[in-house]
Symmetry: C2
């Protein structure tokens, strides 16, 4: 029996993780954490009966306790509650599927508590890779990527000598605006940006796909996960999202992982690694229906958020936090209809330009940088609107 | 220092193997065997100074001894000589790159002598897989595929639990006549069939690509090498020859190996496995130049030699020998301009129809079946011409 906690259980990754738990008797859920969606959480708690539940927003936590008072489930709240879930004593693996930088602290605490991590929260490594990776090594826990691209890279490195990896080819669908130029993007609305061609995902990541900032975060994440230099990570636009990523070795041989665009595959792979289990109800790639896979170079002039990610990654230190925080704030404002689409990468650029780099930042400095970046982009936006 | 023998050193695989030896100080050639090309062999012997050389044709062996009498190299001949090369005492690996069923006996003797095998002779496993595979296990030697497709499958299985492999996707370029119908094929000449779109290979295998009999042999070979049922091996026509083959696992995940069409890559991989070494002078895949990879189902009505391979493989026993021998004879006659292109698969079909199956044939029975098949197809051809 494998016992897991899910931090972010009502999101896209969280609900798909629970689908897998439902299909596998060997999995048991011991902790669930959510931001505020207590309607869905109640159904999850009644079905999976975890030991511990965190509702991050306090007023929702109070309502939730009332909803499930017939059950022997403890309800906690706030960052303290989130950390309690992340370190819940029975769990051996934590699926970190919350959106945003809120995931960093609970992930660090989970590693300290000896939990293996199924990582679905990009921000953790992007902003705190220099803290997380040495800690993973020190504590001897396993950190497995859940993102489809990083899972593909991990699978393509499986059984190989990592030192012989020459280049990572990180594939990108290109999002709904692939092929468009800057002049076509400025009036794009949330409803346009939310139409992802291949993947059904949460709102934040879908907007990040449209700007290609998502790919930028993935490049920085891959550098930490696989100990590769940023320049050895090449983004390849591949609109069909069938090749999930590739690794090129020193001999020119390329190993790739392919599959239908279905997050259940990398989630299940991370939960059962190194065992592959049949994916129930999963579709399979049919090459005769597919007929072609295409490839193109990313347009870094139009999708300049991706170019900025390489810059932030090269600068390192606190700069990736600025990149990420500016994006996080901008996407939320764009979704509310407050700013234009192209303001997202513009705000990232402005925030990076004004930031005074901190090398090797502590967790406190990372969280301060996040807050300062929020304040800056809010002020900047108010000044131009 | 790794010491290798090359059986078939003047052919396409043999000369490319020597290119790799030339670039790698850690490799030494201790034995070379050829059929009759003593001009090229002389240059090879003077450059690589092996201990032992076999010239299969006796009259050529006599001429060859005279050519290199200034060198301390022993020259042997015939099947006895070929076996002496295959078991040469210093070699730890034999590259079996001769064309045709002549490779079986030396390969068996090499395994008996404890040599590892870098297998580039398809006929060995197609006709005698039931003898070779248990022998490899018994003697504890390593059998590594050199064929690009089988090397790709091997690389895609690397680090994985083989029992979780669900399907092999064996790619095929489709050859120079891809997309044509039977009516377009009957008047094809050797010069047409020898124009392979992607690969520079020997004449026999190039004709086998045009008929897709090569893919049929590869399907049977893969079944032995990877212990998979024929029905779990699917041929996927992929005209660009960039994906060299794939393995689909029980979870729907597919691992693929890609590279430019260059046999040096799988040869070097087999010689240095499990170490990947930089491929000097090797080209690399450029996805932005490539732009697309396409896939289609094989046309088993037109390329019915491929359909017959599945039939021969399912029947097993001596039938794959009939398939292979009929093809070997027919290709030689086609290259001489004696028979039409479509007579190649037709002769295979006729030979299979008249053959009385021997289950679990001994090496003697395999070689008898080969001779009987040659006699039958010769007689049949004479009766219809």
């Amino acid at each position: 029996m494998k016992k897991i906690g899910i931090l972010g259980s009502t999101g896209s990754i969280g609900t798909q993780t629970l689908d897998i738990v439902r299909e596998n008797q060997e999995l048991k859920v011991t902790a669930l954490a959510v931001d505020s969606n207590i309607e869905l959480l109640e159904r999850q708690v009644r079905e999976f009966l975890p030991n511990l539940v965190c509702v991050y927003r306090e007023e929702k936590a109070i309502q939730f306790r009332d909803r499930i008072k017939d059950l022997p489930v403890k309800v906690v709240t706030g960052m303290e509650g989130l950390i309690a879930c992340a370190t819940e004593s029975e769990a051996d693996t934590q699926v970190t599927a919350m959106v945003g930088m809120i995931g960093i602290q609970p992930t660090i605490e989970a590693i300290h508590a000896g939990k293996n991590i199924a990582l679905a929260n990009k921000e953790t490594l992007v902003t705190a890779g220099h803290i997380i990776m040495p800690l993973v090594k020190e504590k001897g826990v396993t950190l497995l990527p859940v993102d489809s691209e990083h899972s593909a890279i991990f699978q393509s490195l499986n059984g190989e000598d990592k030192k012989k990896a020459h280049k990572i080819l990180l594939t990108a669908s290109g999002g709904p605006f692939r092929g468009m130029k800057l002049s076509e993007l400025h009036d794009k609305q949330p409803k346009d940006a939310l139409k992802h061609p291949n993947w059904a995902m949460g709102q934040k990541i879908t907007i990040d796909s449209a700007t290609m900032v998502n790919k930028g975060l993935e490049v920085m994440e891959a550098a930490w996960l696989f100990d590769m230099s940023l320049d050895a990570i090449q983004v390849v636009v591949h609109p069909q999202s069938i090749i999930h990523s590739m690794v090129e070795y020193v001999d020119g041989s390329i190993i790739a992982q392919l599959g239908v665009p279905d997050m259940k595959l990398p989630i299940q792979y991370a939960l059962f690694y190194p065992t592959r289990k049949p994916l129930l109800q999963g579709e399979r790639v049919d090459f005769f229906k597919l007929r072609q896979l295409t490839f193109e170079a990313p347009d870094l002039d139009t999708f300049f958020g991706l170019r900025l990610a390489y810059e932030a990654g090269h600068l390192g230190g606190s700069m990736p936090t600025v990149y990420n925080a500016a994006n996080e704030w901008a996407v939320a404002e764009f979704l509310k209809g407050h700013i234009e689409f192209l303001m997202i990468p513009t705000l990232i650029e402005k925030a990076m330009q004004q930031h005074k780099l901190i090398n090797n930042p502590s967790l406190k400095e990372i969280l301060n940088t996040e807050q300062e970046t929020y304040d800056f982009v809010r002020g900047f936006t108010e000044s131009v609107l």
